[in-house]
């Protein structure tokens, strides 16, 4: 058993070091799906969060509580919902998206959107407390003020986006359900790890695990460095 593990470990390192084509394809699809999902989620989540931060309307508190709660949505539940939507009998079944990368993008977008919106809301609201009076004194309209505050908080917002990307890359439940882990089509890092481990191909699973952990670590380090650099540059 020990030797099996050792072999798997050695083999996995060789896969990573040799940039094995099968491994590379899986990593590339993972990045493509998750980056697309985060881009889509950002397009809606950032404005939504900024708006929630500065707008005042009845029920606002409730929306914020709900959004914060949705940050922890279980990926399998999101996957199930998107599966039901996209399945042939579902309301969006005609799109034929189920078991395609497109479906995976949709699922991860829904998963990441509340995270981005909730973090943005928090970031912009904190800044808003500080800026509001000054910006009103200068005669800024609410929209102009919101944009100014969001721009001033841009480095914090980038870290929020990177957090969303980390979440998308490392979730398995949603992409497994709507993608189906079809080799060469919808197989991404996390689903491959789950499958290969079950099949006993520990080398590929481990290799993917290394890449995944390295990517997520890199993202977090980037977020950290960016904030520090921005702090030093702009105060």
């Amino acid at each position: 058993m020990t030797s099996t593990l050792e072999d798997a470990f050695r083999e996995s390192l060789a896969l990573v070091a040799g940039a094995d084509p099968a491994l590379a394809r899986i990593v590339a699809l993972s990045l493509a799906v998750s980056l697309s999902a985060v881009a889509a989620a950002s397009a809606f989540g950032l404005p939504l969060g900024a708006l929630l931060a500065v707008a005042r309307f009845p029920g606002r508190r409730g929306v914020i509580v709900l959004l914060d709660a949705f940050m922890g949505l279980p990926p399998v539940v999101v996957g199930l919902l998107v599966y039901l939507l996209l399945s042939r009998a579902g309301p969006l079944g005609e799109l034929g998206l189920l078991f395609t990368p497109g479906a995976m993008v949709v699922a991860q977008t829904l998963l990441v959107l509340p995270i981005l919106a909730a973090l943005t809301r928090q970031i912009v609201e904190d800044a808003w407390v500080e800026y509001e009076e000054q910006l009103r004194s200068l005669g800024a309209t609410p929209l102009r003020a919101a944009l100014t505050v969001a721009w001033d908080a841009r480095f914090s917002l980038v870290t929020a986006v990177l957090a969303g990307l980390g979440r998308a890359l490392s979730e398995v439940g949603a992409v497994l359900i709507v993608g189906g882990n079809i080799e060469g089509v919808t197989r991404v890092m996390t689903t491959a790890i789950a499958l290969e481990t079950a099949k006993g191909d520990l080398a590929l699973a481990l290799a993917l695990g290394f890449v995944l952990v390295a990517l997520v670590t890199l993202l977090n380090a980037a977020a950290h460095l960016l904030r520090r650099a921005a702090e030093r540059r702009w105060g």
């Binding site: 500080e130 009076e133 009103r136 004194s137 200068l138 005669g139 540059r233 702009w234 105060g235």
Partner: protein
């Protein structure tokens, strides 16, 4: 309307409460063009709230504020500026902070940089024009906030304890800029609890005590012979001044 000023500002029976607590009660006064007006009072007397009401950042719960007989509109708001205790500066260069304010004030793009540089020169900050505003020292940040106000050429400038967080040297620099505003004909309305500063800069004093205006007097007379017992106690308690 050209050439007509927005002053005097008249407050009639202004009341302000928040969170079930009355902060200002029945304030009636006239702020005339000309002499610098100092708001004095202990912490929590309502100085900051009164200035925010005057500047239009807060709306009174009762009573009215009239600028030269009219309710404030955007034209009136544009001719006043406010400098806060803690300067709020954007994460961009000192110069860009000024051009931003000028843009909001409707100054055409090609004139903004020239006007911004002129305002920076006025407060002695032209050499840091391209430095990030938030990396400046506390005193420089407050002078930048004053330059931002200066660039807008306000008729009335509200200052809410502008030197409260600064060391004495930086505070004197701020005072010099405020004096320059005053000399240029800008109406100064400033709150402070630094009595020395009030004497140096003030022509008239409004003394607030627990949300009420209890005394209004020329500065010289206020400090020599306060008429109200509250102001007299305040002056005794705060002595010696710097």
């Amino acid at each position: 309307m050209a050439g007509e000023g927005i002053l005097p500002l008249e407050l009639r029976g202004v009341r302000y409460a928040a969170g079930g607590r009355t902060i200002l009660e029945d304030i009636s006064l006239r702020i005339e063009a000309g002499p610098a007006t100092i708001l004095l009072g202990a912490n929590g007397a309502g100085k900051s709230v009164l200035m925010r009401l005057m500047h239009g950042l807060l709306a009174p719960c009762a009573g009215e504020l009239l600028w030269n007989g009219r309710v404030a509109d955007s034209g009136v708001r544009r001719r006043q500026a406010m400098v806060f205790q803690r300067p709020v500066l954007l994460r961009r260069s000192a110069l860009a902070n000024l051009t931003y304010a000028l843009a909001l004030a409707g100054v055409p793009r090609r004139e903004r940089e020239r006007e911004a540089l002129a305002a920076l020169r006025e407060v002695g900050l032209e050499q840091v024009a391209h430095r990030p505003a938030r990396r400046l020292s506390g005193g420089e940040q407050q002078r930048l906030a004053l330059a931002r106000a200066w660039a807008l050429h306000p008729e009335v400038l509200f200052l809410d304890e502008p030197t409260a967080n600064l060391d004495p040297i930086a505070a004197r620099e701020i005072e010099a800029v405020i004096r320059a505003f005053d000399a240029a004909g800008t109406k100064i309305v400033m709150s402070t609890h630094n009595l020395g500063q009030a004497r140096r800069l003030g022509d008239e004093v409004l003394y607030l005590h627990q949300g009420r205006l209890v005394e209004r007097a020329p500065a010289e007379r206020f400090f020599r012979a306060p008429q109200s017992p509250e102001a007299a106690a305040f002056l005794r308690g705060e002595l010696p001044w710097s």
